[in-house]
Amino acid sequence: MNLDFTEEQEMLRTTARDFLAKECPKALVRELEEDEKGYSPELWRKMAELGWMGLVLPEEYDGMGMEFMDLIILFEEIGRNILPGPFFSTVVLGGLPILAAGTKEQKEEFLPKAASGEIILTLALTEPSARYDAAGVATTAVAQDDSFVLNGTKLFVDNAHIADYMICVARTKEGASPEEGITLFLVDAKSPGIKCEVVPTIALDKLCEVVLENVIVPKKNVLGELDRGWPIVARTLEQATVAKCAEMIGGAQAALDMTVNYVKERVQYGRPIGSFQVIQHYCADMWINVDTGRSILYEAAWKAGEGLPAATEVAVAKGWINEAYKFVTERGVQCHGAIGTTRDHDIGLYYRRAKAAELAFGDTDSQREVIAQQIGL
């Protein structure tokens, strides 16, 4: 057993941290929150040059051939710094399913372009039913000549408004169970019949409503097997959950660091407020939350990366970190006092993201339900 990162991984972490601190300062984060596209093409290009988009893609597709755990380290730093834009959607929601289930042609078509930063990808799964399971998919795909015709509404789709391609999860057949009859489609975002609108959210994270009206998708764009797409989605969701957890822990650490620094400096009643016992205990509680969250994250990430069954660990990680990130940011605001409630203070950036992240890929109750099933209840 080894709970340490390798030297290369530590270097990846340091490089990422330094790069993001320089290239994506909070001023840019705020700009991008208000920006319609929500990302900086210049920064995107630099990230591609660092090999980040293709970090876990095989070298034959212009990737770096690194491991899932390496990607997790990167996401931790991304969460710590905050990086607006379609990195998560392109790399995790788009890249990983294509890597897992694409044909040779599809992989050759999409992965190098994703690695080079040339295309932006996303996954259109959730709908107004607001669930992450197969039963929530009502969008239909009906075979017609050499194509499929897609109809339906997707909601909360990450960065769909700037995506070049969306992997659409649709129902091609009514099966015995909701998981049967699900097919994945690589949909050109410029196809006629697609209407995309960004929905305003607390974290200004560019979630979209995507309306599909008679959208024609060629047969060759089916990703994976007809009617048997759900296992790909399930695997992607597991990876996405872990990656999101990594982002969240990074953010929680940043919020904690910011708070501890503040309470050391802020003087009231002639002493730093960090010398008051209650504030000290808040910080201790925050630290416990982050540290334990990180441990569970790494366990889940390692297992998921090794291809081992990890449903329980992933659910535990997301359930725990959901609450931990919220706790740390709420306490963080409280410790900062009034200044922490302003738009301009950085602690608010993390608070808002904690609230949004709680729900991504399953809120705490749904994670508990997964755990209940896993432990045989």
Partner: protein, 397 residues
Amino acid sequence: MEMNLFRMDFSFSPEEKNFRVQVRTFLDGEVSDEFLSNLEEQDEVDFSREFTKELARKGWLAMAWPKEYGGGGATMMEQLIFNEEMGYHHAPTGGHRQGISLIGPCLIVHGTEEQKRKYLPPITAGEVVWCQGFSEPNAGSDLASLQCQAVEDGDDYVITGQKVWTTNAHRADWCHLLARTDPEAPKHRGISYFLVDMKSPGITARPLLNMLASRDFGETFFDEVRVPKENMLGEKNRGWYVSQTTLNFERSGIAWPASAKRDLELLIEYAKETKRNGQSLAQDPIVRHKLTEMAVEIEVARMISYRVAWMQSKGQIPVYEASMSELFGSELLKRLGDVGMQILGLYGPLEHGSRWAPLRGRVVRDCQFSLGLTIARGTSEIQKNIIAWRGLELPRV
């Protein structure tokens, strides 16, 4: 057996019940969904000026004040009822709270006849907006360490300094302000209280954005602002003690539990109407648990607030009970915001402006807005200090 005058009674008198009906009818009509929608989109103070004046016309605005100062001379219970209904209806108070609840009472107790004549009538008529110049960048919880200076010069005091978290700063007509008149004295004893015309030369007020990007408070810079000596309230260097005046109006803090009650009702309605997983949210045991837990907490908060008003109605001065009510109520709203977001699920983070945002984005707004409630008017930590020191007499080191 002797008849006892006082017996436990959780009900209101017929007159009080009648009064509640009057207030409720008025607010049901005035504070409609459309009103609230407009309120959310526009600046609260500007939008609610007419509403404030209407309250004044009904004699409710300054209902807590003694009649001789233009008030309604209302009883504690009437005030409690009024504040409860206002809170429940989410009616705006931002424009008038400073004048009615803070500076007004100080003027009544400590003002000269001339000051009362000049400043009180516009407050009771809802025609003036006051802001509070208390907090400074280095004086938050430790307000008494404030540094803003007021130097005597002829017939004036010259004020220099910076105030922050000044509610309504950029649109206030007047500012009630604490400044240091004796830098040598121990900190509480060198402060004086001033009434400052916001149109005075040398004042710059800049709004600050809160997390919701709305301009509720601001920073105010005083650059050698001349304030006539007659604008000092109370005695020189006694300003701190003047500002502690609360007058005998109710301090129940009922607005928070009342507001929470309405929010909960909206969530319950939403839960009953929204289907997920083939059943309404209201049928989901986890959702039921969350909603009922909040319902219980709201009722407890209500009782803790009622207790304060009741004590005051008997002429008792709450020692720690008002702190407890403020603490419980503000923490309650934070918890409710969090629980609401959980119930709304993926729809929780959606803000007002999208057709998909539930309840006009009320919950996502509350979960940000409520962060300030455990900080403003005394942080939760300070409230607990007060409860421990004054309520339980635990030792201060």
